[in-house]
Symmetry: C2
Subunit: 359 residues, 2 copies
Amino acid sequence: MKWNDRRLLDLFGIEHPILQAPMAGAVSPQMAIAASEAGALGSIPAAMLTPETLRGELQIVKQGTARPINVNFFVHDDPVPDDKRETGWRKRLEAYYGELGLAADAGRNAPTRAPFSAAMCDVVLEFKPRLVSFHFGMPDPALLKRVKDAGLLVTSSATSAEEARWLEDHGCDVVIAQGNEAGGHRGMFLNDDISRQAGTMALVPQVVDAVKVPVIAAGGIGDGRGIVAALALGAAGVQIGTAFLLTPEAKTSALHRAALKQAHDNSTTLTNVFTGRPARGIVNRYVREVGPMCPEAPQFPLAAGASQPMRAAGEARGSSDFTPLWSGQAPTFAREMPAADLIATLVKETEAVMGRLSS
Amino acid sequence: MKWNDRRLLDLFGIEHPILQAPMAGAVSPQMAIAASEAGALGSIPAAMLTPETLRGELQIVKQGTARPINVNFFVHDDPVPDDKRETGWRKRLEAYYGELGLAADAGRNAPTRAPFSAAMCDVVLEFKPRLVSFHFGMPDPALLKRVKDAGLLVTSSATSAEEARWLEDHGCDVVIAQGNEAGGHRGMFLNDDISRQAGTMALVPQVVDAVKVPVIAAGGIGDGRGIVAALALGAAGVQIGTAFLLTPEAKTSALHRAALKQAHDNSTTLTNVFTGRPARGIVNRYVREVGPMCPEAPQFPLAAGASQPMRAAGEARGSSDFTPLWSGQAPTFAREMPAADLIATLVKETEAVMGRLSS
């Protein structure tokens, strides 16, 4: 396939302007390898890894492909523990703890999502991925300088034109316009009002008009129709997540896979009950009863301390009632095929849609 | 411009697959005439008209153009007055009534939005517009039969694939996929959970996959980029509203125009404080302080009884604090140009985007 817009191809050294989205907990090194080998940009999500486990994954990737990859980090502020809030949260979840037979203090000091740090930066500089992507804004300027001085490209997610301008002003080489359709955590960082978040159709062209750097469209894109639509809107490429969740390379659990296969366009919502920050997933019992947005949830990512044991106990009983079932608004485009085949299929579909439009 | 997909052109007898959206309170007969004369499908919104005022508008349209038009009706259930709820609502608004110097019972028996009725159906059959569009589902089967027996085409808005299938099963010749970006009232009728509403990028292809009839994309589309994106997603055409709100033919007030010119991608939200049903508009003081969603608001459209006098009193002081500032999520694409020029510009932009994609 001949791509007219070569901005991302030249910048990243890839064949197709498609980023396999970094989905923390769901992406394996094998998925990133397969995506990059197929000509897209594979991504490793580091948000739930330690510097050591990240190093291990990047070693696997390095052995699997010499092609460019992306490594993604969360850049939230370290949370301030708040005993009163934690107590209130556990009180809110008390009945579930009883039902699931959990000890009242389960998960109280559990390890959690860690932001980008000097130790993580060391690992990045050891492997030098082509792109480093951030979520929830940008990292500490000193760390960013180390990344940029090493010649690595950086990007982050904007959920508004205002955030896109901010990211461009703060050193992003590319900006991801994350429409409201996107699964997982909203990247919002200048605003916390989820009711105002724009959909991809409205967001992308307004972000394109607001910045000079190339824009990657994300949110609700899962087939060739969405890819061509994103390019029409002015995006230089797309980031696709949910469509990969049923590939064999995905670490998606059997319960999560089953939920995705049943889901449709209005099965998901933004909820903070799993981690404390709004993230899009399929509505289940926990989201319905405690959320979708619960003001008592502790600061991100501390809410996960008390919710993770519920998930584990539920799953041990074969139930996804308390499982974060991350998904964007186009779950019907998730495909049960190897990640490389999915990339090839997306490219073929794109050609077909281009042909339909221009014939 | 040569359109590859001729489904709507042939069905409606128009030159461009663009519907000027029926925006109750903002569309004048002159706008519909200009849109239809320019080759698009002009629309007259009847939701805030009586049979007599609708007849008057359609007579003006008939004198202004022999081309096809669309007439739009709300098809909500007649609300059941609820004194207790009305009292609670007025209690909630009491402080504003004091501030604005309004009598406690202002607007108590004000006329309001009326659903499609036998009398409205008589007017429709008198003028026989090419298309009759509905919002909030479909009308009473007996009335629908009269419309269809007269050979008129019918459509309605779907906010999910499920609603689209329902509309196809209930006689729609075309379905409008109303993405979450769209301004004004959400057409949702099988579900009332606004948190699950899909954006246009995700909704349109999933609706296209769900029905056999042609799909019109709506929500967040305001320039040629959006039009080509919608066609890429599989839509047969687009419905565009907000982009017309700054045309001279629009009845948009000066205060509303000023707000639109300041607005951007994350200025709007879904709110029920004006009418009782969720509708997208620019956030102002009233929306911020009482909404955006207020559980005390009476059933649609009764909430407008108490809120309309606040709007009038605010506007008399030059304030839009209590004014419904309807807008979709792409207000930056609203153009200060005659409606006919806007249609011509949209077509030219579409050609340019097609050229960029296929060159």
